[in-house]
Amino acid sequence: MSKFDRWSILDALDVGIIVVDEQRCIVGWNDWIARVTATSKSAALGKSLYDVFPTLRNTRLPAAIDDSFQVGSSSILNHSLNTLLPLRGEGGQELLHNIIVRPASSGQCLLQINDVTVSVTRERVLRERQSARYHAIVDSAPDAIVTTGLDGKIQWVNVTAEQSFGYTPAELLGQPIDILLQQAGSLSQAFDQDAVLTQAPARPIQVLGRRKHGQSAQFDVSFAAWAADDRIFVTTIWRDVTERMAAEAALRESEERHRALSEALPQLVWICQSNGSFDYFNPQWHSYTGVAADKHDGSGWLNVIHETDRAGLEAAWEASLATGAVFDFDARLRRADGVYRWFKMRAIPIRSVTGRIARWFGTATDIADLVDARDSLLRSNEELEALVVERTREREVVLRQLHESQKMESIGRLTGGLAHDFNNLLSVILGGLNLLKKRVPSDPHTTRLMDGAIQGAERGATLTKRLLAFARRQDLKLEAVELQELVPNLSDFLRQSVGPGIAIVFDIQPDARPVKIDANQLELALINLAVNARDAMPDGGTLTISCHNEIAYGRNHAPSSLPSGDFVRVSVSDTGVGMTEATLAKALEPFFTTKGVGKGTGLGLSMVHGFTAQSGGAMTLASQVGKGTEVRLWLPCAGDGDLVSVASERKPVRIRRESMRILLVDDDALVRTSTADMLTDLGHVVLEEPSGADALRVLASDSEIDVVVTDFAMPEMNGFDLATKIRQMNGDMPIILATGYAELPIDATINFPRLAKPYTQEQLAEALNTVVNTADAAK
């Protein structure tokens, strides 16, 4: 083959051919290389290779050419490892090329330049496209990605792995993967040859990773093996779960704490879903109800609620479920032994992040003791209140009674004082009139005037007597009186008093005991009451007088003012018009009357009241309008002594008419003078003294005194004191006490004859006779 032919073939090749001689001068240069270097054959031939391509001096090519000449070796220079010739394609683009250097025929070296641009570019585009996707994934991956060979040596790591473990890639590449682990070999499973070959999908392995400076971190490592060029790689993906595990641990701990709390609580605790279906009860619930754990799930728990409370509880529960409001209901829950106890059931909704109710957390607290305590407190409060009301009413009654008695007391005192003074005046008037009547010549006209004056004065005396009776200050002659005798004896007089239209019924217990009373006053009282009854029955009716023993009478049914003891109750009842409440309340007041003006004194009932009270008894009134009125007199029973004394007082009386020397003591000069006139008129000698002290002085000096007549009510030394002193000086001296009302001390032990004011001359004379005869009898 000629030289020409050889080069025409080389020029047709699609590779570059350069031939250099031992001086590195270009001796061969084909068309392809001329084209891509833009250097024509003529320009290149004969030139030094390094002059045409100065940059080649700094590459490995000269050494390769040297070896080719010296040793005969062939070399390959890749574009990827070497920067070689500045070659341009037709479009001006850089051509990537590899160069093969071989020894040619003796003294020459062949450089073969292969254009790899197309294939490299295609591969690069493919790879870049792939890599772009790949990098987008692995570089942005939140997980560390580490690729190793089957030997566990690290071949590649992503950015997250660098950051996660704190190493630079250079520090990691080539290192065993154990460098990332606290415990070497804990990932060995990933490199198990058999497992890799079976390609079985493996579950992530949980490992304790090790960062550069030794800190620990928890990872879930998933892994997969893959092959490239017969080479097997294992890619491991490390998910840092340190925080998640910490959160899980915290959550577990929190749940554990809540569970412990709900099981430690003394309350019954339950939890249910948002629809109200129960799915948790603490052990206390089960131990209280005694029902197995699963029996109460859902709505089975309702069975332990007391039937009575169930409907209300369900309604409240439904309302809470619907509105999310706190559930609060008191209900009775059945205990294992069947006993129901009160519980406060309370539940609050637990809301999820979105605000929806996720669950309900509820408790049931035993409040049975509380409820009992509350009830008993309520009960005792009610009792206390009732007691207070009762006591208050009683107190009001007592107060009213006290007020009433105080009122009566003051009226009595006023009336008594008034009557006393009137009495004195009436004594003077009566005494004066009587003496006058004796001395004035008898003339029918004068006599009639005189008698009228005396009658008027006597009526005044009767009036004051009644006033004194009401004021309980009359002079009572207490003696044993047999009602079986007294009442029937009065019947004629009573029938006259009430008239024919009214029937009188006597209901006297045959064994009614004698009472200690002033018989005259009792008769007067019964007449008074009968007259009142008559007036209450203008159209006729029945008057009933009854007497019954009330032995050993306590306070229960008697008037409050009555002491306990033995009484005889004397009732005077009519079937008349009765009294209203208002009338009844005022009936006892003196001068209160329902009768027309001039028909009554208004002193009847008040006199009876005063008389019974003074006698140690009481009077009550009961009346109903239209039904009638009943007056009850509670009279004290007479003792044995009373019966005896009554008998002993009954003695025959002799009247003495001879003149006596009488010491008259009265602080009231008017009364004293009147009395002295009466005594003088009777033929006695009268020594008048205004006070007790004066009287004693007279007595001491005058031994001729026969009788002492003294007023009771005197300043400094009263009549009783005076009489007592005289009795001590001279035990035989007859003494008469003139008293307007019963004001002698109750415990008076010495019984002096008394003369009730006002008195007539006859009464005075009789009193004198009595004391003188008694004194004579005693001698």
Binding site: T59, S75, Q155
Partner: protein, 210 residues
């Protein structure tokens, strides 16, 4: 076999020659990589194929090798061998760490080929150069397999000149081997040449070498 064993002085001589070769290769690699590259041959052995297979493979370890054949006063094939797991390390050291694993895998073939080419050329070339002989050395090719398949251990009585080789590139250490498979005549020729070299050195001033 004992007849073919290397004497101490032969072993030292070959190691010296190999070190000269790899230091040349290191210079070339430095030009390629742009960083310091250190290569050294700490030991040299002459072993049977079976032994070589065992030494290289340590069992069933997968190996990757760059192979070049050579012809000259002694002939055979030269292999630069790494455990497969180290080869990516080596490639990454050469191409730089900016490349992704996929890039490294893509580049592995040509990068290994060129690196092996540089190292094997240097070794063989240095031997030829030192011994003042010329050879023809082929372009490199990549083969994978275990020790047995690389060394065709079951066939022939060929011996293997086994050189341990340490790489330090970008502060990364990679251990590999250079193996020269030769038939017995080639071994004898090599030994003869080495003897001549030793004699030559002993007759020359020491300073000229290197």
């Amino acid at each position: 076999m004992d007849a073919n064993a290397l004497t101490d002085i032969e072993r030292d001589a070959l190691a010296e020659i190999a070190n000269i070769g790899v230091s040349r290769a290191a210079a070339s690699l430095r030009q390629m990589v742009g960083e310091q590259v250190l290569l050294s041959v700490p030991a040299v052995e002459l072993v049977t194929r079976q032994t070589a297979a065992r030494l290289a493979g340590r069992g069933t370890t997968k190996l990757v090798a760059v192979q070049q054949s050579f012809e000259g006063p002694f002939s055979g094939s030269a292999l630069l061998i790494f455990p497969e797991t180290q080869s990516l390390q080596l490639v990454r050291s050469i191409v730089g760490e900016q490349h992704s694993l996929e890039d490294v895998i893509d580049l592995e073939q040509e990068a290994l080929a060129e690196t092996g080419n540089v190292i094997l050329n240097a070794c063989l070339g240095t031997i030829a150069n030192v011994l003042r002989r010329t050879m023809r050395i082929s372009l490199p090719s990549i083969i994978r397999g275990d020790g047995h398949s690389l060394f065709h251990a079951e066939g022939g009585e060929d011996l293997v000149l086994f050189l341990y080789i340490d790489f330090t590139i970008r502060n990364r250490d990679v251990q590999g081997f250079v193996a020269l498979l030769m038939d017995l005549p080639s071994i004898s020729a090599l030994k003869q040449i080495v003897h001549d070299f030793i004699n030559g050195i002993q007759s020359e001033p020491a300073g000229n070498v290197g």
